[in-house]
Symmetry: C2
Subunit: 197 residues, 2 copies
């Protein structure tokens, strides 16, 4: 992958619309985004954009399922296939992946806060996603030190990652993987995790 997180199909206008939508949903949220803005960004009129995506909600759905979802679940699947599945390794993979697609992480962060509102068109998407990720992870036979509560660790760690990504995006020029490395010392303290990282 050369253009981290960017869309690519045989429809250039559609691809440009989705990329512009990721940027606008991230900066301005769903409510702050207008079809006119997307249209101007890609050099079309409003009607031209709506021909491709149907409606503003249709655009949101497209962007979440076609852009953000691709990749994340692959990491979980890859981890399941490991001989000794490691939580630190899984999160390192997620962080390395997200480090290369800041625009999509930005969109995810903005929308996931906006979608706390039960009326938000992406509310169900985020509620379901959160549940599914933890449920999937809990079915893995993790290689962890004795006495570790896997469910609590998973919930705490995913929460921490959300907060770290927010801080990463707020201050430009930082490296997400370096910030996460500092978190690892808190989440997986030595000597308890010696040999498990």
């Amino acid at each position: 992958m050369t253009n981290a997180g960017a869309s690519s199909s045989d429809n250039p206008s559609r691809d440009a619309i989705l990329d512009a939508a990721v940027a606008s949903f991230g900066r301005l949220g769903y409510h702050g985004t207008s079809i006119q803005r997307i249209a101007t960004d890609v050099g079309l009129t409003k009607a031209g954009v709506l021909h491709h995506v149907g409606s503003k909600e249709g655009l949101l759905r497209l962007v979440l399922t076609e852009m953000y979802d691709s990749g994340t679940m692959d990491i979980m699947a890859e981890t399941i296939r490991d001989e000794r599945p490691s939580i630190p390794t899984m999160w390192r993979r997620v962080v390395a992946f997200n480090n290369r697609r800041p625009a999509l992480v930005h969109m995810f962060s903005t929308l996931s806060a906006e979608a706390i509102d039960p009326e938000h068109p992406a509310h169900d998407y985020f509620a379901t996603r959160e549940h599914d990720i933890v449920a999937t992870a809990l079915n893995i036979n993790w290689n962890v030190p004795d006495g570790v509560d896997v469910e609590k660790l998973l919930r705490a760690g995913f929460a921490m990652m959300d907060g770290i990504q927010l801080r990463w995006l707020r201050t430009p020029g930082q490296d997400l993987t370096a910030m996460w490395a500092d978190c690892e010392n808190v989440l997986f303290p030595l000597p308890q995790w010696e040999g498990y990282r």
Copy 2:
């Protein structure tokens, strides 16, 4: 305080406007909030609302400084006065406080994601706040076990709290203090933190 986080002065209309603004900024973000919406909520016209707050940006400033800031800094000040300042205790206080003002936490979560955008009217507020909180906390002589990196722990813990609050708000009926208690087992693992919690 009986009405957790609600405003109170000698100006009922102004108070109602600020309370309605907290709710709307939380649900819809700054961009999604309209003066008309606030006006309808409090039984005024747009012109009536603007008489009190000047402009939409003025309303945002008022709500951040008069509503959200009050209280949070008091907890830090209280902690400084403790004989043996404890990070777990400070965070327990913050969580107990926030547990009683969900509307303000909702506003904070939504705006802090929206304000990643450098052009957002609250961008500087959040960037400065984040820096100041860590800087203030680093000046406290914390009572922690040997070998703990205080700065990394503070950054990691505040990030985790943001993520936990997001999850708390997303699924109604949960208790924030209980969710945080689970996090404590991850942030302050026993036996290392025995006697330091």
